[in-house]
Point group: C2
Chain length 389, copies 2
C-alpha cells in the first residue's frame, strides 16, 4: 500500500424524502442566494424541482435557475452559468441531476470566483484557489461526482473532453434518494452501472499490493452486477436502487483507490469516443473496458486473472491462466449484453469510428503515454480501439 491521504468531507444524506432537506442543508453550509442547475424537463415534470424550490423557499433562500445542461456537458453552458452566477451574486451552487449537471455546477463554482477563463483549470494553465460551495441532489447514480473532487467538461471548439480535479469542488452535501432513480429510462441506469463499475476498474487494476482495498472493491463490484440484473427485471426494487446508488458514490469518492496507483486509461480513451460521437459515456465504456482488459492481460495478467475469479466468478479448476482471463472477459461482455448494451464501437456509433482522429485527439489531451497498470503508447491505444470495433 502506498502512502495516501483520504479526505471525503461530503455529508451524504440518503433515503426516501431527503430532497425536502435541501434548503436546510444549504443553510447549514452557509449558502445564501443559490444557483439551481439542472438538465431537462424530467426533473420538472416529476415534481422534483418544485419540491426543491419549496424547500429553498421555506428556508428563505432566494435562487436563480440555469437549466438545459446536456449529457457530455460543454463549456458554453458553463460560461452561461458563470455569467448568471456573477450577475445574480449567488453564494452557493446547487446541482440537481447526474454527473453532467454536477460537473457543470462544479465548473461554474470555480469559474464564478475567477477573473480568468474557467477553461484554464481544465487545460492545466491555472490551479483554482477558491470556489463557491456546491451541493447536490443526485438523480442518476453513475459518475460519482456527488462525492468526488472531479469534473469533466468538453470544450466545443476542438471537442476536447477533459477532467479537472479540485478538492474545493467536493460537494458540501449530497442528497441521495433512491426513489428518484426509479423512473430513469433503462439505458441511463445501465450506463450508470457501467460507469461506476469502471470507476472501480480504474483503481482495482493496479500494480500496488492492496489486499484489503481489493477485497472490498471486489465485494462492491459483485454487488453492483447482482443488483443490476435485479433492476433489469424490476426497476422499482428500492433495495437494489439504494445499493446501486451508494455503490456509485463509493466507486468514486476515493475509498476504492486508497494507497493504490490508479490507471484511468479506459476512461480517457472513452472520453474521445463520447466527445467526438456524442454517445453516452457509459455506452462507450462498455466497448472500451473489455478491449482494454483483453489488451493489458497479455502484458500483465495478474489482476485480470484475479478479477475473472473473484468478480466474474470463473471457476479456475482445470483452466490455464489465459483461459480463466478469456472466460472472465467474456462473462463481463455477457453482463453488458444482459444490460442491453453493445460492446462494439461500430455498432454503438452506427459506423466504423475514425480511430486516427481519436488517437490524435487523445495524444493532444494526454501526451504520449496513458495509464499505469500497463503504460500504453498511442500505438497500444490504437490497438485497443481496434479490439473494441
Amino acid at each position: 500500500m502506498d502512502n495516501f491521504t483520504f479526505h471525503s468531507p461530503t455529508e451524504f444524506v440518503f433515503g426516501r424524502g431527503t430532497q425536502n432537506q435541501t434548503g436546510k442543508l444549504i443553510k447549514q453550509y452557509g449558502g445564501g442566494k443559490t444557483l439551481l442547475v439542472y438538465g431537462g424537463g424530467s426533473a420538472e415534470r416529476s415534481g422534483l424541482i418544485k419540491q426543491i424550490t419549496d424547500s429553498l423557499k421555506s428556508e428563505g433562500i432566494d435562487f436563480a435557475v440555469l437549466k438545459g445542461v446536456k449529457p457530455n456537458p460543454t463549456d458554453d453552458k458553463v460560461y452561461e452559468g458563470i455569467a448568471l452566477a456573477v450577475k445574480e451574486g449567488v453564494t452557493f451552487v446547487l446541482a440537481v441531476g447526474g454527473g453532467s449537471v454536477i460537473d457543470t455546477a462544479k465548473a461554474i463554482a470555480m469559474g464564478a470566483v475567477y477573473s480568468g477563463d474557467f477553461w484554464d483549470f481544465y487545460c492545466g494553465k491555472a490551479t483554482p484557489v477558491a470556489a463557491l460551495p456546491v451541493g447536490v441532489v443526485l438523480t442518476i447514480p453513475a459518475a460519482g461526482s456527488e462525492g468526488s473532487p472531479n469534473s469533466v467538461i468538453t470544450k466545443l471548439d476542438g471537442l476536447h473532453k477533459v477532467s479537472c480535479r479540485c478538492q474545493l469542488t467536493r460537494p458540501k452535501f449530497a442528497v441521495m434518494n433512491p426513489e428518484l432513480t426509479m423512473s430513469l429510462p433503462w439505458e441511463q441506469t445501465a450506463y450508470g452501472i457501467t460507469d461506476m463499475l469502471c470507476h472501480i476498474f480504474e483503481r482495482y487494476f493496479s500494480n500496488t499490493p492492496a489486499q484489503l482495498v481489493n477485497a472490498y472493491s471486489e465485494a462492491i463490484m459483485r454487488d453492483v452486477m447482482d443488483n443490476a440484473l435485479t433492476l433489469k427485471i424490476n426497476p422499482e426494487d428500492y433495495e437494489a436502487r439504494a445499493d446501486v446508488m451508494w455503490a456509485g458514490t463509493l466507486a468514486h469518492n476515493g475509498i476504492c483507490g486508497v494507497g493504490k496507483e490508479e490507471d484511468w486509461a479506459t476512461h480517457r480513451m472513452e472520453h474521445e469516443v463520447s466527445a467526438i460521437y456524442n454517445v453516452a459515456h457509459g455506452a462507450g465504456l462498455a466497448c472500451i473496458a473489455p478491449a482494454w482488459l483483453t489488451f493489458v492481460a497479455k502484458r500483465n495478467p495478474d489482476m485480470v486473472w484475479k478479477f475473472a475469479i473473484n468478480v466474474m466468478s470463473v471457476n479456475p479448476e482445470g483452466l490455464e491462466t489465459d483461459q480463466i482471463i478469456e472466460e472472465g472477459i467474456s462473462l463481463l461482455k455477457d453482463f453488458y449484453h444482459d444490460l442491453g448494451l453493445t460492446t462494439s464501437l461500430t455498432e454503438l456509433i452506427g459506423k466504423e469510428p475514425d480511430i486516427d482522429a481519436m488517437v490524435k485527439s487523445l495524444e493532444g489531451n494526454m501526451g504520449k503515454s496513458l495509464g499505469f497498470y500497463v503504460p500504453l503508447t498511442m500505438d497500444d491505444c490504437r490497438e485497443i480501439y481496434k479490439l473494441a470495433l
Copy 2:
C-alpha cells in the same frame, strides 16, 4: 436500507513517515497552542514524541503536555486535562496513542469549553454545543476513535464506563503510520483486532436489509482475520499492518453501518467487565462476542448463519442451519485462541466474575433492554455472561 446520514470529514493521512506532517496539519486546521495528550513511556522511548514535538516546533506551534493516560481511561485524567487546557489557553488537542488517549482527548476537547462538569455529556445530562478541534497520531489500531465521533470514559466513582457520541469531536485529521504499530506488544495487536472486528459485528448483526454494506463488511472482516494470522507470524509485515490499520478505521467510521440499525449489546456488556475488572476491552470482547452469538442465534439465526458461511468460511453442504452456526462460532473461538486470547471470562480475570454486580451496573447504565438484533432483557444478559464463563 434505512435512511441515513454519513459524514466522515476526518482527513486520513496514511503511510510511512506521516507523523512528521503533524505540525503542518494542526496549522491547516487552524490550531494554535496545542495540548499534547499521550500515554506512557513507549511513545517517548521510540522517539515518536520527539518527532511530533519537532514537527510542532518547526511550525512554531507552542504546546502543553498531558501524559500518563491509562487503558480504560478514567475521568480523573480528563479533569486534569481540562484544567491544563484552560490554564494554558490551548486551541487544539492532539492525541498521540490509541483509543484511550484519543477518547481522553475528545473528552477534554468538550470539557475545556464547557462551564459545567464534562461528565454531563456522558451521563446524558447535557449535549455539547462546542469543542476544541482534535487531531490524532494513531499508534494502536483498535478503537477506531481516530475516525469516529465516539469516546468512552470510566467514572472512577462507581466505575461507570459509558460512551458519548458527539460529531464535534470527530478528529480533524488522523495521522496513520503502520510502522508505528510494528513494535506493539502482541496482545495489544490481538486486542485491537478483536475490537475492530467487534465494531463491524455490532453493525453487521442487524435486521435491516443491506446487501451491499454486508458484502463489503464481510470482505473487511475476512481480510482482518487473514492479516491477523499473518501478523502473528511476522509482526513487521508492513502490508498486513497497513491493512489492519485501515480496517480499524473503516470498522468504526460508520461506513459499515450506513442504513442499518446497529446493535452494540456486546460492547455494552463488555464495558462492565473491563470497568469492574480492569481487563483490556479487546480481551473482554473475545469472551463476550461468542457467548452473545450463541445466545442470539437461537432466537434470530439469519445473520449468524450468513456470518458462519461468508466470514468464517463454513462449507454449508450437508449441514443443518444450527450445525453451520455452531461451526461458525467454534471457528471464531479458534481464531481468538490462535491470537492467544481466551474466550473464558473466568480464565481472563482469574476467578469467576460477579455476574450480579455486572448486570446491576449494566442496568444502571443502560436501562432494562439492550441491543436490537435481538433485544435483550437483563435476564438474557445474565445468561450471556454465564455462557462466557
